[in-house]
């Protein structure tokens, strides 16, 4: 199966979970679907379903925790737990919180939901791996709106200073945050330039071009650069479902029956 087909499957799983649970955040979950697909399906995040917490494991920290449906579905598709578990998303008494809880399921590495936390957790984990001599990769997926948080930049500088080149930050540059467009709110402009200025090796790519994502990751894991990597994934919020694409309200809305049916049709 190609990355594109896998990404479509991930998007179908995401919308199924969100429809069933009445869940929000379709927009930001669909925008990272291609990046998540290549990281998970391309072997860049080396998972061990049989021993998911071994100390030298690779880790993916989903810092934009509201888009957990993309994480849970990616983990299930990668065989970390049965797909039936996805029925627990947001359910009373379940461990599958909409904003995830640490180690609730294999591969859920951190609690997230409060923005601006994941990078420092990833940095600490990458630092621990270096201290221990582990060949571990740490992916941190953060939103471009999340980059409003000062804590992101506090820690971005530290990770660069420590030359943590096994830290791979993916910035989901969908340009649409909770109350409007980035250009209208803080206008971060050239996101790539900002990370470059903080000392990162930057790949500024189309975040829906699986080939481009794979190429950036392949280049990163040659480890021929001492800087941490920042992949600026230029994306469209709600990507793949026509009526969700680049629409603010799909940060919040949940697909009803008709919308779900149409989404599934478009994602066939």
């Amino acid at each position: 199966m190609t990355y594109e087909e896998k990404a479509k499957e991930l998007r179908r799983e995401i919308e199924t979970v969100l429809h069933r649970a009445g869940g929000s955040f379709s927009g930001g979950s669909l925008s990272i679907a291609d990046v998540m697909t290549v990281i998970f399906q391309g072997g860049f995040l080396r998972l061990n379903p049989g021993d998911p917490w071994k100390p030298d494991r690779d880790m993916l920290v989903l810092s934009k925790g509201h888009c957990s449906s993309a994480l849970y579905c990616s983990l299930a598709m990668a065989g970390m737990f049965p797909k039936e578990e996805l029925l627990n998303y947001g359910a009373d008494g379940s461990d599958m919180l909409i904003h995830p809880k640490i180690r609730s399921y294999p591969g859920v590495e951190t609690s997230s939901g409060s923005l601006g936390h994941g990078l420092a957790l990833g940095t600490g984990s990458a630092l621990a791996a270096r201290i221990r001599g582990y060949d571990s990769r740490v992916f941190v997926v953060i939103g471009d709106g999340e980059c409003n948080e000062g804590s992101v930049w506090e820690n971005a500088a530290f990770a660069a200073k420590q030359k943590l080149n096994h830290l791979i930050v993916v910035v989901d540059r969908n340009r649409l945050q909770g109350c409007g467009r980035d250009s209208e709110i803080l206008n971060y402009g050239d996101m790539a330039e900002k990370w470059r200025a903080f000392g990162y090796r930057v790949f500024d790519i189309d975040g829906h071009d699986c080939g481009a994502i794979e190429a950036a990751l392949k280049e990163t894991v040659t480890w021929n650069d001492e800087r941490p990597t920042a992949i600026i994934a230029q994306t469209v919020k709600g990507k793949g479902v026509s009526f969700m694409e680049d629409r603010l309200e799909w940060h919040y809305k949940s697909p009803d029956e008709a919308q779900y049916a149409q989404a599934m049709e478009e994602l066939r």
Binding site: K101, T110, H117, L119, A120, G124, A128, I131, E154, N155
Partner: protein
């Protein structure tokens, strides 16, 4: 007590390769020896408390034993949400060392005082909150903390070299108060840097014929309710003393326990900072005097309370 803490940590790090020390630009002329001995296990994240706490939590994700070390007010208030989400909620074994809480920075002023940390930390689930009073406390707490396996905050106030209580590191256990004197008229539960003041107050009262049992309540959470019960039954009068705001601190914790336990019939009074930032510039001694938490003020207040009920 920060020098003692860093000294003990340096010894611990020789024995335990899992311990990692993370500072947020704190420790000039204190941490350099540790940094030089362990260049790959000492990190200064810069003036960035949120980054420090998050990084420490990240180190714990892979089983290391991080110690986050920086000034108490900035650690607990600037990085409060990282303490809540990254450390307490994730229940990671991170040691947070708060340097010089209370009035310990004296005439540096109110921005540098930390009179709220007890109240805001003890409200966090999974969090243990400890204040050391002397070298023995610090060395014992440091050793216990790195292997505690749970989130813990240790407030490290200024050391009073004249205060050297007569117990050993083995007597120090989190959650277990240490009784320092025996008296039948009242019990005084003090924490952290208030222990020297409490013992001085005890002596002043003894000279006036009033016997006070002083307890080192180094652990504010979990609270040693057995010791409170013992004191209530023996003395019938309980006081608390802390260099923290009167609201929500040790006194608040003890009050909550007494109020909900009908069997405890005792009188009760808290000594702490009277809910104000308004004392102006001043030395530690002067600030304590204004707050009524120096030995003389406490002794006078206790005497008045016991004799006249006010």
């Amino acid at each position: 007590m920060r020098n003692i803490f860093v000294d003990e940590m340096q010894k611990i790090m020789r024995e335990d390769p899992g311990v990692v020390f993370v500072s947020a630009e704190c420790g000039f002329h204190v941490v350099e020896g540790l940094e030089q001995e362990f260049p790959d296990r000492f990190y200064n994240v810069g003036i960035a408390e949120q980054s420090m706490v998050g990084t420490a939590a990240g180190l714990a994700l892979r089983g290391l034993k991080p110690v986050g070390y920086t000034m108490a007010m900035f650690l607990t208030m600037r990085a409060y949400e990282q303490i809540r989400v990254d450390v307490a909620y994730q229940q990671l074994p991170v040691v947070l060392a708060g340097v010089i809480p209370g009035y310990g920075y004296g005439n540096s002023g109110t921005t540098h005082h930390s009179i709220e940390d007890t109240a805001i930390l003890r409200v966090l689930p999974n969090m243990t909150v400890v204040y050391t009073s002397c070298e023995t406390d610090v060395r014992a707490a440091a050793r216990l903390a790195v292997n505690y396996g749970n989130p813990i905050y240790i407030g490290l106030g200024r050391n009073d070299p004249d205060y050297q209580p007569d117990y050993t590191q083995e007597d120090f256990r989190f959650g277990k108060a240490i009784r320092l004197s025996d008296g039948k008229d009242a019990a005084l539960f003090a924490t952290g840097v208030m222990l020297p003041e409490a013992m001085k107050a005890c002596k002043r009262l003894r000279d006036k014929g009033i016997g006070i049992s002083v307890y080192n309540m180094h652990t504010v959470k979990p609270l040693d309710t057995e010791a409170i019960r013992e004191a209530a039954e023996e003395c019938g009068v309980i006081y608390t003393l802390e260099e923290e705001n009167i609201i929500g601190g040790l006194g608040g914790a003890v009050a909550e326990y007494i109020a909900e336990n009908d069997g405890l019939r005792c009188r009760f009074k808290r000594f702490g900072v009277p809910d104000t930032y308004g004392h102006g510039s001043g030395s530690i001694a002067w600030l304590r005097k204004q707050a009524g938490i120096d030995a003389e003020s406490v002794a006078d207040s206790v005497e008045r309370h016991l004799r006249k009920g006010t």
